[in-house]
């Protein structure tokens, strides 16, 4: 099982390295937000009395969460390509563990998300006033990794269930946009600034708590209060998603 996972992981990493443009395309969206939206948001935050550093400390961790949210949700496309070319079936006739088929792919996707997150943090650090503690950055990367594991598992499971290059992105966009807007990635949804109903709805969005915990760990706030909810949410999401993905890969119709 471990060996099988490693073989599949290595195959997917090889494919990603063969065509690194995809990693670059994946990172384009958060980069555009960082350079074209960041300065604007930081000014707006300053108008509310926050410092410039505070502004960047709010935006950067949210952008790496967004990167994991969008980047990892679309990895199912790669699986659909493998499905069409018969690779999935070819693997399924070998004695390879079905869970390894999923886990190898998920780990490769999650590692790519972490590398992309590191690039964003490095750029924000070099180009703007970002000042985050090393421990906080490391913790935020662990959370990005778990978030990417969750989303990639769901994405693979969904792609394999739908088996359609048309339905798959349509469904993703329908789900991801409300999740993005209700997570406070672009503007923090606080009890003071947001209408009460919107604040309440956002509390029901698991990603909101993940974005919160990213921001808190960037600030170096390692109190129980700051980390507990988000960490539990991301761990539960990862566990449930991997379970769902594994089950889908084990089903015969896959």
């Amino acid at each position: 099982m471990l060996r099988d996972t490693w073989l599949i992981f290595r195959r997917d990493m090889k494919a990603a390295l063969r065509n690194p443009t995809w990693i670059m395309i994946g990172i384009m969206q958060p980069l555009l937000y960082l350079f074209l939206f960041g300065p604007l948001m930081v000014r707006a935050m300053q108008a509310q009395g926050l410092s410039e550093v505070d502004g960047w400390m709010l935006l950067t961790p949210a952008l790496i969460a967004q990167l994991a949210l969008f980047g990892s949700s679309f990895v199912g496309f790669g699986l659909l390509a493998d499905y069409r070319s018969g690779v999935v079936e070819r693997f399924r006739v070998t004695p390879v563990s079905r869970a390894a088929l999923l886990l190898g792919k998920v780990l490769a996707s999650a590692l790519q998300a972490v590398v992309q997150a590191l690039l964003i943090i490095a750029l924000a650090y070099l180009a703007f006033d970002l000042d985050a503690p090393v421990g906080g950055v490391l913790l935020s990367l662990v959370i990005v990794f778990l978030l990417a594991v969750s989303l990639a598992s769901c994405s693979y499971a969904l792609a394999l269930t739908l088996k359609s290059e048309e339905t798959f992105p349509a469904l993703l966009n329908a789900v991801l946009i409300p999740l993005l807007l209700l997570s406070g990635i672009l503007l923090p949804i606080t009890a003071g600034a947001a209408p009460k109903w919107l604040y309440t709805v956002s509390q029901l969005n698991p990603f909101r708590h993940v974005v919160d915990v990213e921001r808190n760990s960037f600030r170096g706030d390692f109190t129980m209060d700051a980390l507990f909810t988000g960490s539990v949410v991301v761990l539960v999401m990862a566990a449930v998603s991997v379970w769902w993905g594994t089950r889908t890969f084990q089903e015969e119709s896959a």
């Binding site: 099988d4 073989l7 195959r11 090889k14 494919a15 063969r18 065509n19 493998d82 070319s85 018969g86 690779v87 079936e89 070819r90 693997f91 399924r92 006739v93 070998t94 004695p95 390879v96 015969e252």
Partner: protein, 325 residues
């Protein structure tokens, strides 16, 4: 090597109307070690579904089977370790290199890295793929890609290999070449081959024994020759002037053993046990009535006739009706 009893598979139809498709309706199969068996039937007859069940990709709705000495239902992993499977559409990733695919496949079958590489190189040589190992598979020709698919299915030296429609989409030359490879495989390594096809010439040229499936049921089995012998003789087509068609048909009907007589627009068709013997007699009889014969054709029985005799439709008709359905 394969024993199956009463294999069945039902699919739920998609959509709200529901309903079921009974794709395979109880299939019994016996394949001995070293045989090259052709599984023949029109598209949609249940060939691929049966194959996917025998290769552990689909769970049978009913029935039992032993494949490569292992029970299909209780030990699918044991079956997977012992068989090779080459799917209809192939299974190589377009961007991956030939050597990488072979190595990965070997390692998924629990071979060591060195063994997988060595075996991959050996198969590449046997299947005329030398010098292509660093090429992405998408740059291979159709025939080369097909041979790579077969190499991938043979990487762990299985005793039993399933080929689903191996020559579909190949040009005639690549087809003939592929057939040679399949024959050699069996001759040199004693591999048992179970292949599906809807091409009669392929079934005829390649198989020791044929199993014919139609509408989810086995309708016949035997060597190509014994199957053809079941058909009632040669098919004869005689062309005469349309106005004399009825008279000519009457004369033809008097030939010894003539049957399945039909006439349309001066085309008289019938079957006789020996077309070559019946023809001179027919020619004399027509001459005596001053009916000139304008054209004549004698067809030896083909597998299509076998299919027609067994199912009441030709293979081509069967395919068209499936497509329309």
């Amino acid at each position: 090597m394969i024993t199956a009893r009463g294999l069945e598979r039902r699919f739920r139809r998609k959509g709200r109307t529901g309903g079921e498709v009974h794709a395979v309706k109880g299939v019994d199969l016996d394949v001995e070690a070293g045989e090259l068996v052709g599984f023949l039937g029109p598209n949609g007859a249940g060939k691929t579904t049966t194959l996917r069940m025998l290769t552990t990709l689909l769970k049978p709705s009913a029935g039992t089977a032993t494949v490569g000495g292992r029970d299909l239902l209780t030990d699918p992993l044991g079956v997977r370790e012992r068989i090779g499977y080459v799917a209809q559409g192939g299974g190589s990733a377009p961007e991956s290199k030939v050597a990488d695919e072979l190595e990965l496949q070997g390692r998924l079958y629990r071979m060591s890295k060195a063994d997988a590489i060595a075996r991959g190189a050996e198969l590449a040589e046997q299947l005329d793929l030398t010098g292509l190992d660093q090429r992405p598979t998408k740059t291979l020709s159709g025939g080369q890609r097909r041979r790579l698919d077969i190499a991938l299915g043979l990487i762990h030296s299985p005793d039993l290999v399933f080929l689903d429609e191996p020559s579909t989409g190949l040009d005639p030359q690549s087809r003939a070449n592929l057939w040679d490879h399949i024959r050699r495989l069996r001759a040199e390594r004693g591999v048992t081959v179970f292949l599906t096809t809807h091409y009669l010439d392929e079934a005829d040229a390649l198989s020791d024994r044929l199993i014919v499936i139609d509408d989810g049921r086995i309708v016949a089995e035997g060597t190509p020759d014994t199957l053809k012998a079941q058909v009632n003789g040669d098919r004869v087509e005689v062309g005469v002037d349309p106005e004399q068609g009825a008279d000519a048909a009457e004369i033809a009907g008097r030939l010894a053993g003539a049957q399945e007589l039909s006439v349309s627009d001066g085309e008289v068709r019938f079957r006789v046990p020996r077309g070559d013997v019946a023809l001179p007699e027919l020619l004399r009889a027509l001459d005596a009535k001053s009916i000139p014969m304008l054209s004549v054709q004698v067809h030896r029985p083909t597998l299509d006739d076998v299919f027609l005799t067994l199912t009441g439709r030709s293979l081509r008709e069967a395919e068209e009706s499936t497509r329309a359905a």
